[in-house]
Symmetry: C2
Subunit: 407 residues, 2 copies
């Protein structure tokens, strides 16, 4: 008899986006004339920039010739890309990361999910609340979460990030082994300053914990005191893994490329306290259960670092940022506190209603769609997420409607 991994049966079904889609559909059927503007989806919309398109065409042509064809590549990524990442994302900021600490992959979601492979199932996990559901669900699947009571898992430590604490999570009041931090944050759009992040590095060093730092939204950072990488903090090489993505940086959501940094100093422990280096283990995991990212996609990622490529992707980021600025300003102008939207494509609104009621009224009265904050966790209740990925025109139109809105 083949046995199932019963932990999978404990994963709570997420109806968030399904329910959002259902309500939109029902509304549109009842009100076919309504011009609904969707600002709920966390996916980019601007096309891939010309420098990257050019690199893709060139790499495709190579693959069609005997001399240029590339078969299996290094599972860790080609040196041409890893070296560019090292130089532009780290060395240029004075951060000491070597190419063999960088593992190129098909995206940060895969890596965030797969990193658990190399960690023991007995680790106590801490997540912020609200939270990107992948951190929780992958730990449920691995048997680290305990039982679900309809709101929370019994063995996961939840750290609220709300207006009450300025969206800065408090240190746990007990020991935790693994801490997921995503800053700039999804869904709140808020950030930690260098000194606020240092508190976490110090905790992790003291407790021999590991921080899994998700920096997928790094490209949106404008403030000087917001770290682009956790490795800007002294000591982070001893306690952190960082996930990066080209998805939001360069619109690669449909091209699939990201990378993970595992410093050579980083260790986790056996039950009897023997340290084991995680760089080597992640290398072994990726070599065994992954066969590298497509060559043409790695050439595309390389082009993101060219002079033209950088200029072009920053124009796209600026485009989204202008949307975010306008959205934040609009909600504040009608008396609703709005967070994020500056170093992030997400605007997180504190509503006077519960999240789903706000959703229904915004849809009904403004024909604008967003995502109920409670869908990201209990501390997201009465919050609401809007994304800056619509066009300028759609964003302006939506904000005009909201300015006229009598809630």
């Amino acid at each position: 008899m083949a046995y199932v991994n019963t932990n999978f049966t404990k994963v709570s079904e997420s109806y968030l986006f399904v329910e959002v889609a259902r309500r939109i559909k029902a509304y549109q059927e009842k009100h076919p004339e309504a011009k609904i503007i969707k600002m709920g989806i966390g996916d980019v919309t601007r096309p891939i920039v010309p420098a990257v398109i050019e690199a893709l065409h060139k790499a495709v042509d190579e693959m069609g010739t005997a001399a240029g064809f590339r078969g299996y590549g290094p599972e860790q990524g080609y040196a041409f890309l890893r070296d560019k990442i090292r130089d532009f994302d780290f060395k240029s900021r004075g951060i000491d990361i070597e190419s063999d600490e960088i593992f190129v992959s098909d995206g940060a979601k895969s890596d965030c999910g797969n990193i658990g492979d190399i960690l023991g199932t007995q680790n106590i996990i801490a997540v912020t609340d609200p939270v990107y559901p992948v951190y929780v669900d992958t730990n449920v699947m691995a048997g680290r979460a305990g039982d679900f009571d309809g709101i929370k898992y019994s063995q996961i430590y939840y750290m609220p990030v709300t207006q009450a604490n300025g969206f800065v999570p408090a240190l746990p009041d007990r020991h935790v082994d693994i801490i997921y931090l995503c800053f700039p944050n999804n869904p709140t759009g808020t950030t930690l300053t260098t000194s606020q992040l240092k508190v976490w590095v110090d905790y992790a060093l003291r407790e021999k914990s590991i921080i899994l730092f998700d920096a997928a939204y790094e490209a949106f950072i404008t403030d000087d005191d917001v770290p682009h990488s956790i490795f800007e903090i002294e000591g982070a090489r001893q306690c952190a893994i960082e996930f990066r993505s080209f998805s939001k940086t360069a619109g690669f959501t449909g091209l699939r490329c990201g990378y993970t940094v595992v410093p050579k100093e980083l260790v986790a422990y056996t039950e009897d306290g023997k340290p084991v280096a995680l760089n080597k283990l992640w290398n072994r995991r990726q070599s065994t259960k992954f066969n590298g990212t497509a060559y043409i996609v790695q050439r595309a990622a390389e082009a993101v670092y060219s002079t033209e490529g950088r200029k072009q992707i920053m124009e796209n980021i600026a485009y989204y940022r202008e949307n975010a600025r306008l959205m934040k300003e609009t909600f504040e102008s009608i008396g609703m506190p709005a967070f994020g939207g500056k170093n992030s494509p997400y605007v997180w609104i504190k509503t006077p209603l519960d999240s789903w009621t706000f959703f229904d009224r915004l849809l009904d009265e403004c024909h604008v769609v967003g995502t109920p904050g409670v869908g990201f966790g209990p501390s997201g209740e009465s919050y609401f997420r809007l994304t800056a990925f619509a066009t300028h025109e759609a964003t302006r139109e939506a904000m005009e409607r909201i300015k006229q809105w009598k809630l």
Copy 2:
């Protein structure tokens, strides 16, 4: 204190290809004049065919326009590709597989490795010997292998496939839960007929076991009585998962695309015997820990099924097949039994020496490199693997040298 997954520390280091590379390098340094022909690597060499290149360029252009841009796609793959797979790889052979039983991925290696996520760690695993190391190593990582004694893992059931049993593994003499079968086989290049595979399906149905069927080399099949899919066998929908790849079929080793078929009837059990459907669990795994394969790569895979694409990839397969035929014939002509090479790009030679001595003498006396069979498992001792992926010219030259060889 963050804990490591100590199972990772049990993975035996594979020095096979490292040692092969070391010996080649040492030899070449000592004999710089030697024209070494490499026939050890299991990677294709023919460029991507024109129909696929054209589809890639078209998809790249789409990604550069606002109208054609595609962001996050379905984690399971786009319908345009899943439907083509269903029609051409299954329906056309009279096999009843639906599109929502097909999960497109970045390759069969990822899927072979990740499938263990949804299966309990208490399952007893059976593998053929010799074997593709990924099946074993991923189970070591998951804690299903026991301890390594230098040759075998204590909890894995090994099924020899050798000349003695005609490369047809015998049914286990005890119950096993999960059975890995790869046919056409890597490394032996041998196949099972439909009736030989049916024995395994019947066993799995009787024992409520699951067969993980790796059909990565399916495109090389020429014999009529060799099944292209395990789902040609009645009852397989109740007991099998199948892995497929565009790597060997269409030269996608550097483009990364494969797929996995999980029938809706297939279940695994909880400890107390409750059946759980695996299609839904794999869907959940992929939705949570994977974000789909690049759109442009899926368009490339779609083009493999076009009239032109199919014609062009079959020309490449025929090219490799002709190499394999010549290699098999050559070794037989000098009195060494050679297997595979007909429905497979691999030729598996029974040598009169141990695998590594044969390696050294073939390198020294013919300047030809292959892979020592013992590197794939203890039952591979005294065998030797050659691959058909060199050019015609290099293959002919290597075979001429071997014909003159006095071993």
